[in-house]
Symmetry: C2
Subunit: 329 residues, 2 copies
């Protein structure tokens, strides 16, 4: 494959080129990795900026329905929408391609929508790098909004927040005054909390839940990157497509304010540096999972367990082997 | 210094040799490290096993007074006692040598007591390795009990628990039914919770606090390495030396049960493997803090922040430099 040609077609908005480019950044092969790095450099100065929307929500809150309704609304406004996912657990079920396609039936048929499921990798570091790069590829391919969704397992919310301009938290109406066990750390990442299912029998509960969260958000310290009134809580109904344009207006006004005050560019620069540090870390620790070192480490660990070798000596030998392996490269 | 001679003197119980050996394992110099590894191997088959007691407690609970009283009681029983500390924050105050000596006045004067403050290193990984190795050196030097204390900052409790046979949590009497904000994770590590200051006006409060914790411990799932009734909560008064021999009896019966059921050896083997893995990890990531790489990383990060270089490419170059540096070694 010629990388220059792939880059050109991608920049021209060719969906198949985009799909192929993402497959390339997902590959674990060394030669593919070299091509992917080249490709990323060729497209990085496209001058295009998509709005990167992070979206977290546990199963059952109606995330797919929200993405479908919200995405269709954006498309009706003439925007191009890409949907990516960070779901390290999907590797266990062999990816969720079929699931993603069927659960967003309308969006899938739109020529201005691009849906890509989470890659089949168990390693969150790998999923993170691929999704971050795929986001940049979608941006270069001319998509206006890139929605990055996560089911919020473990650290995946942090991963998504660190690659988003705006981070949305989707919740279901709660019974009584319970706050659905949402962790404080996740609340602090959210720019906008959307309480879904504000329709039918659940409408009153959704409004109560919104008020509870608005109160909780009010107690958080205001962040420098937030205008007055943010973070906010609002209700939506994905099924009735209600509240979606209001939510979109909130996101746009937030982004506008951040752009005017320099926070938008600063956050993107900080995020790039964050991923640079993470990539180094993951790359270094990733060496331990590669053969022949992996087997050697297991052998050493058994000797350490039997007391035949001190932990310190065994670790020293592994580290020495790692440094020495550079010579044969 | 001849390492064989140092090892011999240490095995003969020479306190100055022990102090010197610990200084050696604390050193960051490469030649010292090589000697330290050799020394550890020379003494590791001494056949001696000290009881390794981890002790956590925030400032104000009377930790020093407890160590002094408890240590003196052990010494009166004819035992040799070593006291080590894991306190990554002490590096900021330039070590706490003076503090440790003055706060344990009686113990300091005993020939069968050996007190060594936390090393002046900010890096928890470094402090952990040094303390683990110092514990083994004390053991080889014939100490019967090695007390490893921590103030419980950040991850230091995990560090201490992973190098202890028995983990003690020292608490002060609480007002009312509050559980002093002890994190669940720390409760789950504790084998014995000791509520100190069960004397004078605080005696009733201490007993109430003990009952509260006994109730909380009861709700935890029983661990396979615990006999019936453990983990336990008890009251002590370090100032009046009350409850100390009872607490000591509990620790001994716990260890006896674990030895009989194979958990004692298994835990030590698991701990050695844990430290092997941690040492590799810390050694790998430690490369990033060394020059000239450290400066190079800072430069790259600035370029990434300005958008001159992609995060992925910059990380690749750092990783390549790390692997290539093996050639010059």
């Amino acid at each position: 494959m010629d990388i220059n040609e792939l880059a050109e077609r991608l920049l021209a908005g060719d969906r198949r080129a985009l799909a192929r480019a993402i497959t390339l950044v997902e590959s674990g092969r060394d030669d593919h990795r070299a091509q992917a790095l080249e490709l990323m450099e060729l497209v990085q100065h496209s001058g295009r900026q998509a709005l990167r929307l992070g979206l977290s929500g546990t199963p059952g809150v109606g995330k797919s329905t929200f993405i479908e309704s919200f995405g269709m609304m954006l498309i009706e406004q003439g925007l191009k929408v890409a949907v990516l996912a960070v779901d390290p657990s999907s590797a266990r079920s062999g990816g969720s391609i079929l699931g993603d396609k069927t659960r967003m039936e309308l969006l899938t048929r739109e020529k201005n929508a691009f849906i890509r499921p989470s890659p089949s990798q168990t390693n969150l570091g790998g999923v993170a790098r691929r999704t971050r790069e795929a986001t940049q590829l979608c941006e270069a391919a001319g998509y206006d909004v890139v929605l990055i969704e996560t089911v919020g397992v473990g650290q995946s919310e942090t991963v998504v927040a660190q690659m988003s301009d705006v981070f949305l938290l989707l919740l279901a109406p709660a019974g009584g005054d319970e706050l659905q066990g949402v962790k404080r750390g996740i609340m602090e990442m959210a720019d906008l909390i959307l309480v879904n299912k504000a329709d039918g029998d659940l409408k009153a509960a959704a409004q109560r839940t919104r008020a509870d969260y608005a109160g909780a958000l009010h107690l958080l310290r205001r962040r420098p990157q937030d205008p007055e009134g943010f973070p906010k809580a609002a209700t939506v109904s994905a099924i009735e497509s209600a509240g979606l344009s209001e939510a979109w207006a909130e996101m746009q006004s937030l982004v506008q304010w951040r752009k005017e005050h320099g926070h938008y560019d600063q956050t993107r620069a900080d995020q790039a540096q964050y991923w640079f540090a993470q990539d180094i870390r993951n790359g270094l620790l990733g060496q331990l999972d590669r053969e022949p070192l992996k087997t050697a480490i297991t052998d050493f660990a058994q000797q350490v367990g039997r007391g035949e070798l001190t932990a310190s000596r065994a670790a020293e030998q592994v580290l020495a082997a790692l440094t020495a392996s550079g010579t044969s490269k």
